[in-house]
Structures are given as structure tokens and as C-alpha cells.
């Protein structure tokens, strides 16, 4: 550890300069729409995703500009103007408006699908390695921009789905102002009202109204158009081929979207009514999983985690530091990708079927996340053992595994054996039976009394922290303190051991460099 300190300080001093050098290298290598994969794209369709993506983007912009001519961005006319586009703008029997709208909508869906596929391709093939990190970051950023552009786009229709999706989207940043008091600096962040300001910036005021529509109209166009301008400038400067696909491929993509637009006319929904939330109310398909995610936990945690998802993906990317790119040689990162896909599909399915129970489901998916990581780690461990020819204990990452196990136990124990009233799954299942037996004695017994009875008669081992210290609650160990202590100890020990190893490596490198440099000096003298 002590050996690492001078190297750390030197690194810190050099950080801005070395970051600039790092960035310059990645900037030169940057690949936005697979323009540097022209050869691969001829034989491997996965590499023509970039070209198709850009082609779809152009289609969406062109159809969008055409729609702008008839669209009226005012709350009380927006929906009717879309109706006019959809039904009245015809050429003989051909509903031109409906087709253009379909091209715009299905083009946007194709955009999201292609952007997601490209991010996944880059993830599963480890394409972000060897100095391509920036390409991956921009691919992810463009996906997020695409999703945000979709969200701002469907409010413009001013239908029920759009209104409530916008309301949810604009309300959830306000939880960023509700950091718990125990968080260092939490109160200071709360006082600065960052969350409320974010909501106001999104909405153009304190509520969804005319200013919101204007603002979303501007964001919708700006976010879609500006990245395209930047890409075109890059094409102009570097002189590469804009799209790596053939004209036939372009025609096929256009044909598929056109066929969709004709066969399944884009839906209108019912006009927005701020006084009634329909049940069920769903967002657009690519937000369904995140919408379900909000059902599964406390809103503060949900907000922080939703904002954290892209950053966690980037963190995972920067942690994948080995040069291996083959499928079987980086299983942890494969499992992160697979788990993401599983959650996306599963959550979308669950929300469509209205299955959500905050008490029952949340621990299952927390637990499964840890399980995916452990499976990935197990496979990776086996691979590294074989690669380095070391015994099993020689390549075991104790701190990583311990961290995951502690996280899993914390979540599960909390939900199954925690506070009787709020989160305890077992107590919720026992409630009807306890209530029935209490009602035999006194018919007016309430669920509150049943919970009280359970609290009184539970084993005197109150391991868990609770928000509601009742008169019947025995003082306990509060095991959550032990969990926090275990987390901190694992992080501290892992950092210590890691830094010590890094310091030794740096020293060895410096010694090697010195040994190489010495003979040169001698011959020179």
C-alpha cells in the first residue's frame, strides 16, 4: 500500500494531461455508425446495424419534417391536428398523412431497436476494448437520446399515454431532493433543489402545460437533428462512406417500415385528460421495463438506480480491463448483458400482465442479480484457472464474491425477516390467519391489531432496523449495522490489497525500465 502512494500522486498530477491524450486517441478512433467496419459488413450482417441505424435516422428526420408542416404545437389543438394528419390528408384513396406518420413512428421504433442491438453487439464482442471506449459511450448516449427523443415526441400527440408518461418522467427527478439525512452531504443536496429544478427544466414550468409542449417540440427536434449535423461534419472532414450498406439493403429497410406503416396504422389513443388516469396505463414499449422497475421499490431508490443505470454500465465497461474479447473468456460481462436482456423482457411481460408486488417481487430480482453475477464469476474463475494454470485458491477473488454475498443477504433478509409491518413477506402471508383467529375472540379486530399480535409473539430476536418503533417492539441487534460494517470492511480491504498489488507492479515496472536504461547510458558514456 505504502509503495503505491508515490505512483498514485504522480498519476493524479498527470491526470488532466493523460486524460487529454487518452481522449485524443479515442476521438481519432471513434466509430459512430460502423463506418470503419465496411469490410466486415459485407459478410456479417451484425456490422451493417450502424449503417441501417443511420439510414433509419434519416427517414425519421425527413418524415418528421414533413409532419411539422401540419402539426400544431398547442395543447388544445395538438390532438386534433394529428387527427387531421391521420385521416384528412389523403390523395384519392391513399392516406398519405397516416403513412407519413407511420413512417415516423415505426422508423423511431426501428431506431431504438437498432441502437439497442448495436450497443449489445459492442458489449458482447468486447468492441469497446483496444481504445474504442468512446465509440461505446457515444452509442449508449445516442440510445438514451433516442429514448428521450421518443418520450418528448409522444407527448406532442397529447394523448393519455403521453400525458401520464410525461407526468411520471417529470415527477421522478424530484426524489433527487429527498436524500436521507444519513447520507453525507444529503441535506445540502436537498437544499439545493436540483431535482425540482430538473423537473422545471423538463416541463418549462411547475406543471404540464402549453410551455411543456413548446419545450418538448424544441427538444424533440434538437436532440434528433443536432447529432446528425455533428456526424455529417465528421463525414465531411474524414471523407469516409456515410452508410456501410448497399442501396438494396436501404430499400429493404424502408420497405419493412413502409409495410408496417400501411398495415398497422400508428395509433392515436384518446385525448389527454389530466383528471383521469386510465387503468392500466402503459408507456411506450421501450420504457415498459423501467416503468415496472418503479413499481418494485421505494421511489427514492428507484430514481437513484434509474439515473445510475447508464453510469453502472460504463463502470462495468471500464472494469473490463483484460484484453480478451472471445465469448467464453469474459463471462461476468456477458452475464451483465444477458441479465439486462432478461430483465427487459421479463419486466415488460410482467407490466403488460399487471403483475407487480413490491413485497414479493423486489427481493426475487435483487437476489437474481447477485446470482447472475456469481454464475458469471464462477465461469470466469474456471477460465482464469485454466489460462494461468494456477490452483483454485490462486485465482479466487475473495472481496468480489464476499461483496455480492453480503449484498444478496442484506436484501433478502430485510424483505423476509425485516420489519413486521412494512416489508416482511412472511408476516403478510400470516396476516389473514392471525386476523381470523383474533376475530373469533373479538369480531372488531383490525389488521393493525393482528400485526401488533405478531410483533408481540415473534421470537425475541429483533434483528432488523424498522421505521416504526412500536410499543411492542423488543430492542434488538439491528443487523443492518453489521451489514453496513461488512460492506465498508470489504471495500476497504479490497482497496488496500488492490492498491498494494498495483504499487508492487508499478515498482517492478520502474525497476525494469531502469535496468533497460542503464546499459544504454554506459555505452553512451
Amino acid at each position: 500500500m505504502v509503495k503505491a502512494i508515490p505512483y498514485l500522486l504522480r498519476g493524479l498530477l498527470a491526470a488532466p494531461a493523460s486524460f487529454l491524450a487518452w481522449f485524443q486517441e479515442r476521438w481519432d478512433k471513434m466509430d459512430l455508425f460502423d463506418e470503419s467496419h465496411v469490410q466486415e459488413a459485407r459478410s456479417n450482417p451484425w456490422y451493417s446495424i450502424g449503417g441501417m441505424w443511420y439510414w433509419v435516422w434519416m427517414l425519421v428526420i425527413i418524415s418528421g419534417v414533413v409532419l411539422m408542416i401540419y402539426y400544431v404545437p398547442v395543447t388544445d389543438q395538438a390532438y386534433h391536428s394529428i387527427e387531421r394528419i391521420q385521416f384528412n390528408w389523403r390523395w384519392g384513396p391513399v392516406p398519405i398523412g397516416a403513412v407519413v406518420r407511420g413512417l415516423h413512428k415505426y422508423g423511431a421504433d426501428a431506431f431504438i431497436i437498432l441502437a439497442t442491438m448495436r450497443v449489445y453487439r459492442m458489449w458482447f464482442t468486447g468492441e469497446y476494448k483496444q481504445g474504442n471506449e468512446l465509440s461505446f459511450i457515444i452509442a449508449l448516449l445516442l440510445l438514451i437520446i433516442g429514448m428521450y427523443s421518443g418520450l418528448t415526441g409522444y407527448l406532442l400527440i397529447w394523448n393519455q399515454r403521453a400525458l401520464w408518461a410525461t407526468k411520471v418522467m417529470a415527477t421522478f427527478p424530484t426524489y433527487l431532493d429527498q436524500n436521507p439525512a444519513w447520507l453525507p452531504g444529503g441535506t445540502l443536496i436537498n437544499l439545493s433543489n436540483q431535482g425540482k429544478t430538473t423537473a422545471q427544466i423538463l416541463l418549462g414550468g411547475t406543471s404540464i402545460g402549453p410551455a411543456t409542449v413548446t419545450r418538448f417540440y424544441a427538444f424533440h427536434f434538437m436532440l434528433s437533428f443536432l447529432p446528425m449535423v455533428f456526424f455529417e461534419l465528421r463525414v465531411y472532414r474524414k471523407g469516409f462512406k456515410r452508410m456501410n450498406i448497399s442501396h438494396w439493403a436501404k430499400l429493404a429497410v424502408f420497405g419493412i417500415i413502409l409495410a408496417m406503416a400501411i398495415m398497422v396504422p400508428a395509433a392515436l389513443g384518446s385525448p389527454a385528460n389530466p383528471e383521469v388516469t386510465p387503468n392500466p396505463i402503459l408507456s411506450d414499449w421501450y420504457f415498459l421495463a423501467m416503468y415496472h422497475f418503479l413499481k418494485l421499490q421505494d421511489p427514492y431508490l428507484a430514481t437513484v438506480l434509474t439515473v445510475a443505470i447508464p453510469f453502472l454500465v460504463l463502470l462495468a465497461m471500464f472494469l473490463d480491463r483484460r484484453p480478451e474479447r472471445a465469448w467464453g473468456q469474459r463471462q461476468i460481462f456477458n452475464w451483465i448483458g444477458i441479465a439486462g436482456l432478461i430483465y427487459f423482457v421479463l419486466f415488460s411481460f410482467l407490466i403488460l400482465n399487471g403483475i407487480a408486488d413490491i413485497h414479493r417481487d423486489a427481493p426475487i430480482w435483487y437476489y437474481s442479480m447477485g446470482l447472475f453475477m456469481l454464475i458469471g464469476y464462477g465461469q470466469d474463475w474456471a477460465y482464469v484457472m485454466k489460462r494461468d494454470g494456477k490452483p483454485w485458491y490462486g485465482t479466487f477473488h475473495l472481496f468480489f464474491v464476499a461483496f455480492i454475498l453480503v449484498a444478496m443477504s442484506a436484501n433478502t433478509l430485510y424483505h423476509y425477516f425485516g420489519d413486521i409491518r412494512e416489508l416482511n413477506v412472511l408476516a403478510r402471508e400470516a396476516l389473514p390467519r392471525v386476523l381470523a383467529s383474533l376475530q373469533q375472540a373479538t369480531p372488531a379486530a383490525t389488521p393493525d391489531q393482528a400485526y401488533d399480535w405478531m410483533e408481540k409473539n415473534r421470537p425475541a430476536l429483533n434483528l432488523w432496523f424498522t421505521h416504526h418503533p412500536g410499543p411492542n417492539k423488543p430492542p434488538g441487534l439491528e443487523l443492518w449495522r453489521l451489514h453496513v460494517a461488512a460492506f465498508l470492511a470489504i471495500i476497504a480491504a479490497g482497496t488496500w490489497v488492490g492498491l498494494a498489488r498495483w504499487g508492487r507492479d508499478q515498482e517492478a515496472k520502474a525497476a525494469l525500465a531502469a535496468a533497460k536504461a542503464k546499459p544504454k547510458l554506459k555505452t553512451g558514456a
Binding site: A17, N279, Q297
Partner: protein, 211 residues
């Protein structure tokens, strides 16, 4: 080596003001996006007459004679805001519910009535007053325990509130409408009211949330 370190040091020193300048520019751009709202609700409770809201009658007592009778209403909370009229009226949907006598304080005639804002404190959707336990179980994933009664339930993320029970909501104190299912962090926001000449009159609303 020495030459390298000097160059490194100079690069580092010059990059700091450049980064600072860039941050300042970003700050200016972000500030442009912040709306020039001057009003809105500050603090926990919105005064009823900010920007001249009149006191609004929302229900007659004759409409709420039997237990679990309820009425939906819209209360208009006006606040000063940047627009051509300088005033924006936020429509706040609400519920008046007549509670059964067993849940009311016999000395206090007001405690028979529960008046809440219909805006879900989770993420702002408009919640419903659901009377049938089958609908609660099928539509909101909550099967109420045996002596069943109506609940407030939100379609967006399936939060269910029990109007007969109270929950501690931090700064605003103990409020009716305990969260019994779903992710909502607290009971519905309240409205203060008076009973005048057999009518329920709203006198103020709790602030917060996105209208």
C-alpha cells in the same frame, strides 16, 4: 525525465482554467433552459389566496350521508407563473369521502369527512376510489384483509392507500391514507377544509408534487 515532468506540470496547470471556463459555459447554457417561474408553491402548505384564489365549495353534506359515500372534485390552485396571463391555475383533483362513524371522532364533526388531493404522492398520477375488493385484487394487485372496505388505488404503479388508517408522513405529521401496498412513500397530500352551511369548503392545500 525532468523535461517531461515540467511539461506535464505546465499542461496540468493550463488545463485547470480551461476546464473551469468550460464548466462556466455549460452553466450558462443550463441556466438558459431553466424556466423563469416566479411563483409556484413554496413551503409545505399553499395559501388559498395566492394570486387571488377564491375559496371553493366542493361538496354538499347532503351528497355524503351514508358511510363510504364519496365525491370527486377539482380544486383550482392559482399560482403566479411565467405566462401571458402571469397566473397559472393548477387543477388539483380531490376526493371527499364520508367515513363510517367507527373511524371518526364523535366530538369532532369534521373527522367524519376525509378530504385528500387525488394526486398520487408517488409519481403524480390521479388515483381512484375503489370499492370492490375483486377490482383491487385484479387491477391493483392488492387483496384486502377480511373486514373489507374501499381503498384509494393508483393505476400507474399500483400504490394502495387505506383511508381508515394513519401513517407518519415526516414533516407534515400523521396523515390518513396509510400506504398498504405499492411504492408510494407517504399518504396522499391533504387539503384543509371547513364545513359552512352544510357545504364543504376548501381553505388550503398541501404543496409539493408536479401539477
Amino acid at each position: 525525465m525532468k523535461e517531461n515532468q515540467r511539461r506535464l506540470f505546465l499542461k496540468t496547470v493550463t488545463s485547470i482554467p480551461i476546464l473551469g471556463g468550460a464548466l462556466l459555459a455549460v452553466n450558462v447554457i443550463l441556466r438558459y433552459f431553466k424556466p423563469t417561474a416566479v411563483g409556484g408553491v413554496k413551503g409545505l402548505v399553499a395559501p388559498p389566496d395566492e394570486a387571488g384564489s377564491s375559496i371553493q365549495i366542493v361538496a354538499e353534506l347532503s351528497e355524503l350521508q351514508n358511510p363510504w359515500d364519496f365525491k370527486e372534485f377539482i380544486y383550482i390552485r392559482k399560482s403566479v407563473e411565467y405566462s401571458s396571463r402571469k397566473i397559472q391555475g393548477a387543477k388539483i383533483p380531490g376526493f371527499v369521502v364520508r367515513l363510517p362513524d367507527q373511524f371518526a371522532d364523535p366530538k369532532d364533526p369534521k373527522s367524519k369527512y376525509l378530504v385528500v388531493q387525488r394526486i398520487c404522492p408517488h409519481l403524480g398520477c390521479t388515483f381512484n376510489f375503489v370499492k370492490s375488493p375483486e377490482e383491487l385484487a385484479g387491477g391493483y394487485n392488492y387483496r384486502p384483509p377480511a373486514p373489507t372496505h374501499p381503498y384509494f388505488a393508483c393505476p400507474c404503479h399500483l400504490s394502495v392507500y387505506d383511508p381508515t388508517r394513519k401513517q407518519d408522513a415526516g414533516l407534515v405529521g400523521l396523515l390518513p391514507g396509510k400506504v398498504v401496498s405499492g411504492p408510494a412513500p407517504r399518504p396522499p397530500r391533504t387539503m384543509s377544509f371547513d364545513i359552512k352551511d352544510g357545504q364543504i369548503v376548501i381553505t388550503g392545500t398541501e404543496g409539493g408534487g408536479v401539477g
